[in-house]
């Protein structure tokens, strides 16, 4: 009886953090074992970057004003950083967690000595960190080949990396929250699809928010998607790390809200879980 209880107890903050770290590291190592797949996927970042550089090059021939206040080179470097964040997301439409909830595999997962959502967060975050590094290497190399360098400042880079890691964490939390609705819905594919599209179009992944028409920029500024992509990418090409504090504050506020929603969904969702057979 005693051993069963110990097995199911998380074991405090430090031990939980240790387990999360081990899962993250294992996931990152597994992803590094598939270098070909990583390279193929990162090459898509390069292609997107090429397409957009062509588009903005045409724009610069027809429009005298700088789009959103950015030069062509700054735009391409902005997009390299932005696409590197966007393309860390897995390509499958339905995350693993949804499938486990729908098929009942969750019955095996919840018996493990780590909360089921935390397990998924750690595994996914480790995977996405490796993808982010690869995407960034590809993206920045292509940006450099396409438009050369831009003045970059170390503090702005560090601030952008910090904000990007937080952005990926928040995205993970949102994906987790959407996936947990699988306790109530037959399919969550639609939710994920719409969330991804909103993040891409309203988060500043294709165009800096300042380059949008005024009405659309206002809409985007009222939504939280800007904290994922536009915020970190703007820091990356910015002249300084100014704005980092405000961005992180908003990111943390948003992360806390989403984490609470995820906790509530998991708490109530588990009551609905029915596992059959073995």
């Amino acid at each position: 009886m005693q051993s069963t209880l110990e097995l199911r107890r998380p074991g405090g903050v430090a031990r939980t953090a240790g387990k999360l770290w081990a899962l993250m590291a294992a996931s990152a190592r597994r992803r590094l074992g598939h270098l070909g797949e990583l390279a193929v996927r990162s090459s898509f970042v390069a292609i997107m970057l090429f397409v957009f550089s062509q588009l903005w090059r045409e724009v610069s021939l027809h429009v005298t004003a700088r789009p959103g206040g950015y030069s062509l080179a700054q735009l391409v470097w902005y997009l390299a950083f932005a696409e590197s964040i966007v393309f860390t997301t897995p390509s499958n439409q339905e995350p693993e967690l949804d499938r486990e909830v729908r098929t009942g595999d969750i019955a095996y997962r919840i018996a493990r000595p780590l909360a089921f959502p935390l397990h998924h967060l750690a595994v996914s975050f480790g995977d996405r960190l490796v993808r982010f590094a690869f995407n960034l290497a590809f993206g920045l190399a292509i940006a450099w080949l396409l438009v050369g360098t831009i003045p970059l400042r170390l503090e702005a880079w560090l601030a952008a990396f910090g904000a990007a890691l937080l952005a990926i964490s928040i995205d993970e939390l949102v994906v987790l929250t959407l996936s947990l609705t699988a306790f109530w819905f037959e399919s969550t594919v639609g939710f994920h699809l719409l969330y991804r599209r909103a993040m891409l179009l309203l988060g500043g992944a294709l165009v800096p928010l300042t380059a949008y028409p005024d009405w659309l920029a206002e809409v985007c500024r009222a939504l939280p998607f800007q904290y994922y992509i536009a915020g970190p990418a703007a820091l990356f090409v910015g002249a300084s790390a100014r704005g980092f504090g405000a961005l992180v504050l908003m990111q943390l506020t948003w992360a806390s809200t989403i984490a609470l929603a995820a906790y509530a969904l998991y708490h109530f969702g588990l009551r609905r879980a029915i596992a059959q057979g073995g």
Binding site: E37, V40, R41, S43, F44, I47, M48, V51, Q54, L55, E58, V59, H62, V63, P67, S91, F185, E186, S187, V189, G190, F191, L193, L194, R197, A198, L201, L206, V207, A211, Y212, P213, L216
Partner: protein, 264 residues
């Protein structure tokens, strides 16, 4: 003539069966279809806003952007609704799951492609047909041309998909590669080809036929060019023929996974 009719009958039968299966989970079907419809509307809204702010392509107006998106979305929707395995087939080859089709008296490629239907595809079809009708006010001749070009586009999508998915016969796990190639095709097809220059433009009108999926049909509808229309049919037939040929060559190298699988 009879084998051709028999093939159409098979495609029709699978389409009906797949639709019935989808309606068994109608909430899921409706939600995925609706999500894709909203997704496409968001894309279109974004590009209309973009081109209005930055008029990149001379002579292009809102109706041209709408036409381009309508044709690409409708054709992709029909292609993945009827030939639902067009994107997933590389994985079927890599896992050795073609056995079930090899044992049946029907063309293997066609059978493998039609045995699945993408649920989100219908959202693309509804979007494409809907925005074309609503935002471009087409005449009867426009509708006829639109339908013809969509059918020709389906040939390009399916032929290109069959071609890249066949890489699995030579390199094994090619699902990521095939998916990436299809993503590139779709992404490039939604941009006016005139923004590209030199060799890139040539590639988009040949190796990766993205220009023929969006820009060329939009121009045909705009300028009624018979030469481009004939070129479009030729490209469509060429990709279907090439996809079938490469699949047939690849099939000789196929190794069974010795798995018990159901048709998916």
């Amino acid at each position: 003539m009879k084998p051709m009719l028999s093939m159409f009958a098979l495609v029709g039968a699978y389409l009906r069966a797949n639709l019935k299966a989808a309606f068994e989970y109608r909430v899921s079907f409706a939600s995925e279809m609706f999500a894709m419809l909203v997704n496409d509307c968001m894309w279109l809204g974004f590009w209309i806003a973009f081109y209005e702010r930055y008029p990149v392509v001379h002579g292009w107006v809102r109706a041209d952007v709408v036409t381009l998106w309508a044709i690409v979305a409708t054709a992709f929707g029909v292609a993945t609704a009827v030939f639902g395995n067009v994107v997933r087939r590389a994985g079927i080859v890599a896992r050795g799951e073609l056995d079930v089709y090899l044992a049946l008296p029907r063309p293997v490629l066609l059978h493998a492609l039609i045995s699945r239907m993408s649920l989100t595809a219908w959202g693309d079809v509804v979007f494409g047909v809907g925005v074309f009708a609503w935002l471009t006010q087409p005449t009867a001749a426009d509708w006829l041309l639109f339908a013809t070009l969509c059918a020709s586009n389906v040939g390009i999508f399916v032929g290109f998909g069959a071609l890249v998915s066949s890489a699995g016969f030579w390199i094994g796990p090619a699902e990521g590669l095939a998916q990436q190639a299809m993503n590139i095709l779709i992404s490039f097809s939604t941009y006016p080809t005139t923004i590209f220059r030199g060799s890139v433009k040539l590639v988009l009108l040949s190796v990766v036929p993205a220009g023929f999926l969006g820009f060329v049909p939009a121009e045909i509808l705009r300028a009624r060019s018979p030469h481009w229309l004939i070129a479009h049919f030729a490209v469509s037939l060429a990709f279907v023929a090439l996809g079938s040929l490469v699949f047939a060559r690849g099939l000789r190298r196929y190794e069974s996974g010795n798995l018990s699988v159901v048709r998916t």
